[in-house]
Amino acid sequence: MKHTFRTALALTAATTSAGLLLTACGEGAKGSAGSGGNSGTVKVGLITKTDTNPFFVKMKEGAEAAAKKSGVELSTAAGKFDGDNEGQVTAIENMVAAGVKGILITPNDSKAIVPAITQARVKGVLVVALDSPTDPQAAADALFATDNLKAGELIGRYAKAAMAGKPAKIATLDLAPGVAVGQLRHDGFLQGYGIKDGDPAIVCSQDTGGDQAKGQTAMENCLQKAPDINVVYTINEPAALGAYTALKAKGREKDVLIVSVDGGCTGTNAVKSGKIAATSQQYPLAMAAKGVEAVVAYAKDGTKATGYVDTGVTLITDTPAPSVAAKDTAYGLENCWG
């Protein structure tokens, strides 16, 4: 039994030091961590899909800035991987337990998250969906998001105008099956281009998960299948840059039109250098800031944000096409995120 005692001793020491380390981390990150129950400060929770995607990192920064401005306390959490619903459920529960006034969430699973959101709302917490809707949309109090259909439509119309009547061979590098954001952008692009799914102009469709390496693989495979591809729609800029790498390896980068969605700084720079022809820029900072403001208003006098609030989308390109409104990359870089 002697060693059990030692184990206990060591673990005790370990836990204590971990705790101390944490307090340090917490203090550093928050300025005023600690006793949760200090009434007076309004608490806001932000739950993103993951911790690692720059889009959500930017969203967190937007929320932090807005929280500082309004003097509220922000706590953040995220799913462990893209699509992790249970991690988000746990985060909602813990935030409700911590006494937050409102929760801003980018749902990993639009349907599966609904029961947890309902539970929180029953307890009087305002829940705002950011970036992607819940299903049904009314399950959350409000939705602050980019109109992803419109984002797709803008680059679709742009691509159609830029092709100027040449016959198109289109590859679509999509997100993943069953994810609303990806579906909406894809559908919007087709609408803007004036074609439907199954049109013979679409020669290749592959899922990339919005990942650069997978985007490259998908493009390589598409080129094997249809070497004469001349338009590439991509779900986001990492996928677009992956596609560009694959096209460059084949010496096709100059004569293929790549369009994308996001407007991250890396992506906007890629538009500037001509790798990507055009991108639909969205504004995660505004999403988060408006979300925090909504919770502050709710805490002040009980006004609840409701319905869908469009946080805006702008077509960014340095080679504008007639009849499609766009801004240049100088504007894009001023307003980019990431």
Partner: protein, 337 residues
């Protein structure tokens, strides 16, 4: 929460009056993790007023019941010096089978639940057969099975989350009042499962044989233990436990989610290691695993109450695992001496 785990620890320690040479076999490594858990609870109760409220503690149990139950099956396999990387993926497949069969409404919900647990058991049986008869390393077998189960989940679900489930599937998510808090039936089931296996491993021949197999399969075979049958049974039983975890997951989220459980295999192994069970087999205890799962849950919950972001929670969990294994190594050396 701790009051439920304390008595069995005592009971288990009172058992196994093993001869001195065998003491290393049945020594209980649960005390260390238990102290760590209590220290963590004390720390967080100073940090946040809400931490010790009954509602919050029952929340922690309810948050760890899925990974905890997976970790229970994982413990059985790790005790035999194996490892199961497929547990999360197998559970996800079980949830989809249950949810789809029940939502289509042609079968009674209980049949759907049984079918879901059944397919998980089949996966366990397949893992066990490959490990025992084909003599493949568990790591490789279950790595392959992870991909098989993952793919089948996505094929069978057609990437769709299954909603509109009958009440029977979510019944375990229901609560009953205990004092001033609400406890979910699922939490009770989880703790009952752990107590049941603590008894089986500590008090029965089957339990002793399992430890013996993990310590030295050859010696176990020579002493007359039917190791092949025992190992096959343990893998299948682990599958059944993953099936129960699947039901708990459905009852917790209210849906069948094909994307569920992707990191749960490593989370389950984390709980096992934090609970003082040795990855080399033959040393450890299921109650330690329950404590290990609770440690992770308490840290996640407590840090969230303090307002620390989830990436720091992951950082700390990683540190704790390395510490736990270090401590385990030192105590093993002591035993050998």
């Amino acid at each position: 929460m701790t009051t439920t785990t304390a008595p069995p620890t005592g009971a288990a320690r009172a058992s196994a009056p093993a001869p001195p040479r065998l003491r290393g076999l049945f020594t209980h490594p649960t005390a260390g993790p238990l102290v760590a858990l209590l220290v963590a609870c004390a720390f967080f109760s100073f940090q946040s007023e809400q931490f010790l409220s009954g509602g919050n503690l029952s929340l922690v149990v309810q948050q760890v019941m899925v990974v905890g139950t997976l970790a229970l099956g994982q413990t059985l396999i790790i005790l035999t010096a194996g490892i199961d990387l497929s547990c999360g993926a197998v559970m996800a497949f079980g949830t989809i089978v249950m949810a789809k069969l029940a939502a289509e409404g042609t079968l009674p919900p209980l049949v759907a639940i049984t079918a879901g647990i059944g397919v998980c058991a089949l996966f366990g049986l397949a893992n066990g057969a490959l490990v025992t008869f084909v003599k493949l390393p568990p790591f490789i077998v279950t790595l392959g099975m992870l991909n098989v189960a993952f793919a089948l989940t996505h094929i069978y679900s057609e990437e769709q989350t299954v909603t509109e489930l009958p009440g029977a599937l979510t019944a375990l998510g229901g609560t009953f009042p205990l004092g001033r808090t609400d406890i979910t039936y699922g939490s009770v089931l989880t703790i009952a499962l752990f107590l049941c296996f603590a008894y089986l491993l500590g008090q029965t021949a089957w339990g002793k044989h399992t430890y013996a197999l993990g310590n030295n399969p050859e010696v176990a075979r020579l002493t007359g233990i039917r190791t092949t049958r025992l190992q096959l049974g343990i893998y299948t039983l682990a599958g059944v436990i993953y099936g129960i975890a699947a039901l708990l997951l459905v009852s917790r989220t209210g849906v069948g989610d094909p994307k569920a459980g992707q990191t749960d295999n490593l989370d389950a192994i984390t709980a096992v290691v934090l609970g003082g069970t040795s990855l080399f087999g033959g040393r450890g205890a299921v109650l330690g695993t329950l404590v290990g799962a609770l440690i992770v849950g308490v840290f996640r919950n407590g840090l969230q109450l303090m307002g620390v972001g989830s990436i720091y929670q992951t950082l700390i969990t990683g540190g704790l695992v390395i510490l736990a294994v270090t401590v385990d190594q030192f105590s093993r050396r002591k035993v050998r001496r």
